[in-house]
Structures are given as structure tokens and as C-alpha cells.
């Protein structure tokens, strides 16, 4: 009986990995299954709570969002060959869902800064409470050395960028309003079963397939 249970449990674990779930990935900040990560909690065993809450969630962000947007604005990427916004207008800042990612990855906002903490109280963190290193996208150069987000793909296309037509893209590539956001490339819940799908990618890096989903090069 015990061995049967173990077998079933093992199979469930394997299935979980195969379906690419968040458990045990670097996005799992919990004290139990996330304890092999650089940043994790010592007292909060829940995984979802670091981003979501079933009650008392954000009034502005969905789905059931449990984090506050970063307070700061960001220095963003621009280039003479990028046509995603009006060259005579102001450079748009990060907005929408990408801000939600930056509420951890801005290198400033505390990982345990949640709207609702639940019965365990404020999560106690080990390994640091602010992201540093390569996962901090808002490094000394801000976002100026990172692929632009919160930009309008259709605008870029209309202005002559070498991009595939909007209708030909897979459904994960463009977000609301034909925008490119962090989630255009990244799947926050799935680390990637194989190296080419990591970190948290929507398509394989093999042959730069992810890049070539949009870019005609």
C-alpha cells in the first residue's frame, strides 16, 4: 500500500514537471517546495500567495493580484531602428502586465511586500528580500539594455519593422491591444522542462525559434 502511494505520488510529481508547473521553479518562493531557491520564505509554505490572493486582492490588477505595482518609473530601451512608438512623442514607460513582473524584478521592491499576508503574517525571507544579479532587470542601466515591453506591435509593423503579420502569431505572443509584454516571451508559471525552454519561455531557444516567432531575420 505504501509503495503504491509512493508510486502514485511520484507519478504525480513527474506529471507536474511534464506540465510545467510553478512548484519547485525559481518562481516558487515558498518555504517548502521553494527552499532550494536563492530567494525563499522561511515561514510561508504557500506558493501562489506571493502573487495571488483569493480575497482582498488588488483593486487595479488581475488576476486576483496580491502585489503592489512598483512606485518608480523606468529608463527604457530605445533605438533609431525601433518603430514601436511615435518618434516625436514621449517614450512610453512600462505599463500593464509587465509592471506586475517588475514588482519583483525591479531590484527595489521587496519580494515579501504583499497586499494580503494571510495567517502566517509577513513572509520572512532568506537569501535576500530584493532581487539582485541577472534576475534584476532594472540594473544600473535600468531597462535600457533589455528588450522593450509595453510597446505596440501593430504600430511597429505598420511603421515598417521586419516583423511577421499579427494574424500569423501564436496566441501567446501578443497581449491586449497588440502589445508586447514580458509575458510575450515568458510563461511565469512554467520554468521549461528542457534547457531550450528555460528560463520560463513560451517557445524554444533552439535555432532562436522564440526570437524568430516575431522577427523576420
Amino acid at each position: 500500500m505504501k509503495s503504491t502511494c509512493t508510486l502514485i505520488f511520484s507519478l504525480l510529481l513527474i506529471a507536474g514537471a511534464a506540465f510545467g508547473q510553478i512548484t519547485g521553479t525559481p518562481h516558487d518562493l515558498s518555504s517548502v517546495t521553494g527552499d532550494s531557491n536563492t530567494y525563499h520564505s522561511t515561514n510561508q509554505d504557500q506558493i501562489c500567495i506571493f502573487c495571488h490572493t483569493p480575497h482582498a486582492a488588488s483593486a487595479t490588477n488581475t488576476p486576483l493580484w496580491n502585489r503592489n505595482d512598483p512606485a518608480n518609473t523606468f529608463q527604457v530601451y530605445s533605438s533609431p531602428t525601433m518603430h514601436a512608438f511615435d518618434p516625436n512623442g514621449p517614450i512610453p514607460n512600462v505599463s500593464g502586465t509587465s509592471l506586475m513582473c517588475l514588482s519583483c524584478h525591479d531590484g527595489v521592491t521587496a519580494l515579501n511586500s504583499l497586499i494580503y499576508n494571510g495567517s502566517h503574517g509577513v513572509p520572512q525571507m532568506t537569501g535576500g528580500n530584493v532581487i539582485t544579479g541577472s534576475a534584476n532587470l532594472n540594473d544600473a542601466s535600468g531597462l535600457t539594455n533589455d528588450h522593450p515591453v509595453s510597446i505596440n506591435y501593430a504600430t511597429a509593423l505598420a511603421n515598417g519593422s521586419a516583423l511577421h503579420a499579427t494574424g500569423t502569431l501564436p496566441n501567446w505572443a501578443l497581449k491586449a491591444g497588440n502589445r508586447i509584454e514580458c509575458t510575450s516571451c515568458h510563461n511565469v508559471h512554467s520554468f521549461g522542462a528542457t534547457a531550450d525552454m528555460q528560463p520560463f519561455l513560451n517557445a524554444s531557444r533552439t535555432g532562436s525559434a522564440l526570437c524568430l516567432t516575431c522577427h523576420i531575420k
Binding site: S134, S141, N145, D146, D196, T206, G207, S208, H215, I216
Partner: protein, 250 residues
């Protein structure tokens, strides 16, 4: 009989599709594709087979060069092209002699012959080793080189038979000049009171000028790094020297 016809039609259709795909071929499979399935002698031993990474990265890119540039900058000081009939160099404000700038500097971060092809700013995990350890385009002229000699991709070389001697990495004296202003001033000066010998490429022409004033000749004026459909990554066919004659009235 009918089935044979359908088979034939299918074959023709397939061939036609293949030819269309070849005509639209982009960087994948060309010599600028440094992955293991790339088309050149130099290949990165990266099982993931990324293509874009040798020049671009989505994060932690260069803070000084675009677009999302992933390469170390060449540290060479280059010997520029000079000629009694070439006035372009006079327009350079460059204090250390006419050095490649702008887009051309990006190209030379491989094509100077000495900067390592795998000298990247950002990779996933460990650096990408090059197959056989051949990590410089200059490997082509090293003694015992496994690559055939001849006109290679090392633009900084002394081409055998050109009069230059010895292996070098910074010699652009035998290459068409880049990073100079090509404008009406130069055309007038070049004409020296006679008929113009130069003309600006028309708007929309495949030949483009670069820089803030859109008047700089750079490597990209003649070459399209991402597409080899015209051979030698040219921006247009050079049949009948059409590319040269875009600017040169000869």
C-alpha cells in the same frame, strides 16, 4: 495515370515552394548563422543552437550599442583606406585618423579577424565554445589553418598578393572606406569642377546611408547582415555591378 499526374503536380509544387523558401531565406543556415547548423566554417558548440545570440540578447545588452547588442567591441585601431582621389576622409572629425564608427564597428567586432566570435556580453550559463577552438575569423590565415586560403571574411587582413605582408587584423587600407559622410558636399568636391562621378542612392533604394544625418556610408550600405539571397550578404544583386553603380557614375 491520373494518380501519376497528381504525384507530378505535387513534386512540382514542392519544388516551387522550396524555391520560394530559398528566395525568402533569412539568416538561418547562412554563414552568419554561427549555430551548429549554420552555413560557415565557424560554429558555436551550443546544443541549443541559438542563432541570434551571437549578436543580440533580450536582456543585459550593451549599454552603448544597439540593437540589443550582445558583442564585445573591437579594441583595434584600424589603418583606413586612403587615395588621392578619395575625399571622404577629409570630412571625418575623428581625431585618431579615419576610424570605422557606427554600424561598421559592430561588423568589425567579428570581421576584424581577431575579436573572438564568442566574446559575448550575455549567454545562458557558461560561454559558448567554438568548434575546434576556431574562435577568430583570422584563423583562416593562421599557419596550419584548416580553412582554405583566399578571400576570407577577415576584413582586417593583408590579402595574399595584395602587396601587404604578414598576418594583420587591423588593415582596412585595402577595403572600400566606411564611416564617411556621403552628401552633396562630397559629390561636388569629388567632381572637382567636372561632371559628377557620384550620386546619392534614391529614396527607397536598397542601398542605405546611416547616422543621425542619414549620410554615412557604412558596411550596411552594401551588406544586409541577415540575408544572403544575393550572395555575400549584399543588399541587392551586383549583376552588371548594379550595386556599385548605385552610387558611382562610371
Amino acid at each position: 495515370m491520373k494518380r501519376q499526374h497528381i504525384g507530378l503536380i505535387l513534386i512540382v509544387l514542392t519544388l516551387w515552394l522550396c524555391s520560394i523558401m530559398a528566395a525568402n531565406a533569412q539568416i538561418v543556415g547562412t554563414k552568419h548563422d554561427l549555430s551548429l547548423s549554420g552555413g560557415g566554417n565557424w560554429q558555436g558548440n551550443d546544443p541549443t543552437g541559438e542563432v541570434c545570440i551571437y549578436c543580440h540578447t533580450p536582456h543585459a545588452a550593451s549599454t552603448s550599442q544597439k540593437p540589443l547588442w550582445n558583442r564585445a567591441t573591437t579594441t583595434q585601431t584600424f589603418i583606413p583606406y586612403t587615395s588621392l582621389t578619395f575625399n571622404g576622409i577629409n570630412h571625418s572629425a575623428d581625431p585618431i585618423g579615419h576610424q570605422p564608427m557606427g554600424e561598421s564597428k559592430l561588423c568589425l567586432s567579428c570581421h576584424d579577424g581577431i575579436t573572438a566570435l564568442n566574446a559575448l556580453l550575455h549567454t545562458y550559463g557558461s560561454p559558448i565554445p567554438m568548434v575546434g577552438g576556431y574562435d577568430q575569423l583570422g584563423d583562416v590565415y593562421y599557419p596550419g589553418s584548416p580553412f582554405s586560403s583566399g578571400m576570407g571574411p577577415n576584413i582586417g587582413e593583408n590579402f595574399p598578393g595584395s602587396g601587404g605582408t604578414g598576418y594583420t587584423v587591423n588593415n582596412l587600407a585595402n577595403d572600400h572606406p566606411v564611416s564617411f559622410a556621403f552628401n552633396q558636399t562630397l559629390i561636388t568636391e569629388d567632381a572637382n569642377g567636372g561632371a559628377p562621378q557620384l550620386r546619392l542612392p534614391a529614396t527607397g533604394n536598397a542601398v542605405k546611408l546611416y547616422g543621425a544625418n542619414h549620410d554615412q556610408v557604412e558596411c550596411s550600405s552594401c551588406h544586409d547582415v541577415h540575408s544572403d539571397v544575393n550572395g555575400k550578404f549584399l543588399v541587392m544583386s551586383n549583376s552588371g555591378s548594379a550595386l556599385c553603380l548605385t552610387c558611382h557614375i562610371k
